[in-house]
């Protein structure tokens, strides 16, 4: 090999590496878009107005549950936290958050159940149960319009990195990573549906496909089933880590709960 062709092939390898890097790059902060922007006008209108947003049915149920006494302690959420409109403002925008007792980040749903078992002395609510969805929707509704602000410090950093690693790891029988669709190919179509950037701005949200409200973990499990990967249980550490990474990735974007998606 002459020196000249050697340099040329080196340049070629470098160019390929650059290109590969460009494909795997994260979406620049300024170019992030909520799934809302990719929806039809009709679905956006449905979300915009409380009168037509079916997620509000859960929010109203959540308000009733917030004020209902539960458990052996005979206490309601409101007995400690008072008016959710003031006390829960911005709370959902900072979850998953680090919990010292568990020594790891917990999701909003887990936080609600920690309160139930610890303070109310009540049985934890099942994941995706009407009650847990209603309470988390009611709490998250109080953050609507506020920017997502996840606190990352020395304690939570390893979990963020675990989530980032999961997002970029190829898995399942289709051997796909989350990033391959949601970083590299957002805006294109997968079958009939537009691929969004996967910013969890509106959870729990009403999916027309589900004909009901569902949590972010339900959505993550759907995607994992789609790529034929092993699906962790609700509340599993790897799902919470992924949730943490996705919320950090969407930092500064506004909460839309309860959002509507196709």
């Amino acid at each position: 090999m002459s020196l000249r062709t050697g340099v040329r092939s080196l340049a070629w390898v470098a160019a390929c590496a650059l290109l590969a890097n460009a494909w795997a790059a994260e979406i620049p902060l300024g170019e992030r878009r909520s799934g809302y922007d990719l929806m039809s006008r009709e679905t956006r209108a449905m979300q915009d107005e409380d009168a037509t947003n079916p997620g509000m049915l859960w929010v109203l149920d959540g308000e009733a549950l917030w004020n209902r006494k539960a458990g052996a302690a005979e206490r309601a959420c409101a007995d400690c936290h008072g008016d959710a409109r003031a006390s829960m403002k911005g709370v959902a925008a900072s979850y998953p958050a680090f919990d010292s007792s568990r020594a790891r980040p917990v999701s909003l749903e887990q936080r609600i159940n920690l309160c139930r078992t610890g303070r109310q002395k009540a049985a934890p609510l099942a994941y995706e149960s009407k009650e847990l969805l209603a309470l988390s929707a009611y709490v998250a509704r109080q953050s609507r319009g506020l920017p997502i602000s996840i606190l990352i410090d020395a304690r939570s950093k390893p979990f963020l990195e675990a989530g980032r690693e999961a997002f970029h790891r190829r898995q399942g029988q289709l051997n796909l990573a989350c990033a391959q669709c949601h970083d590299d190919n957002w805006g294109k179509r997968l079958a009939g549906s537009v691929i969004p950037q996967a910013h969890p701005t509106g959870y729990p949200l009403y999916r027309l496909e589900w004909q009901g409200l569902g949590s972010l973990q339900r959505r993550l499990r759907n995607c994992l089933t789609g790529i034929r990967a092993q699906v962790p249980d609700f509340g599993a550490a790897e799902l919470v880590d992924l949730e943490l990474f996705l919320m950090w990735r969407a930092r500064g974007m506004k909460i839309e709960t309860p959002a509507v998606r196709p």
Binding site: D50, T52, P54, M56, L60, D61, A64, A134, Q211, G212
Partner: protein
């Protein structure tokens, strides 16, 4: 926790066309789906929605399978006089929900 949400203007001018939006929490199970064991899931839908304005029926809908869960029904009527609008959803398995809203007409 069955509930319905009704949204309409609190006041209107006489003769004005007002828009009324209603949402009812309901699974609208079609009766055509089966469980993983092959058993038919029985039909459970809202059959009829009516709106009466001071006792006069102004709007009625018959609902059928293949309508979405938590149906959103939006319609218009003419504001004729102050009073109460009554909304009623009636369905399978004894499902009945009634909501009443008042309007002031000037």
């Amino acid at each position: 926790m069955a509930r319905a949400v009704v949204t309409l203007p609190a006041q209107a001018k006489r003769g004005e066309i007002i828009e009324i939006k209603t949402l009812a929490a309901h699974p609208m199970e079609t009766g055509f789906r089966r469980t993983q064991l092959g058993e038919l899931i029985p039909r459970d839908i809202i059959r009829r929605f009516t709106c009466t304005y001071n006792g006069t029926e102004v709007y009625r809908v018959d609902l059928h399978p293949a309508m979405s869960a938590n149906p959103l029904i939006a319609f218009t009527t003419v504001a004729t006089e102050s009073g109460a609008l009554s909304f009623q959803w009636v369905g399978d398995n004894g499902y009945t929900v009634t909501e009443i809203a008042s309007i002031r007409v000037e």
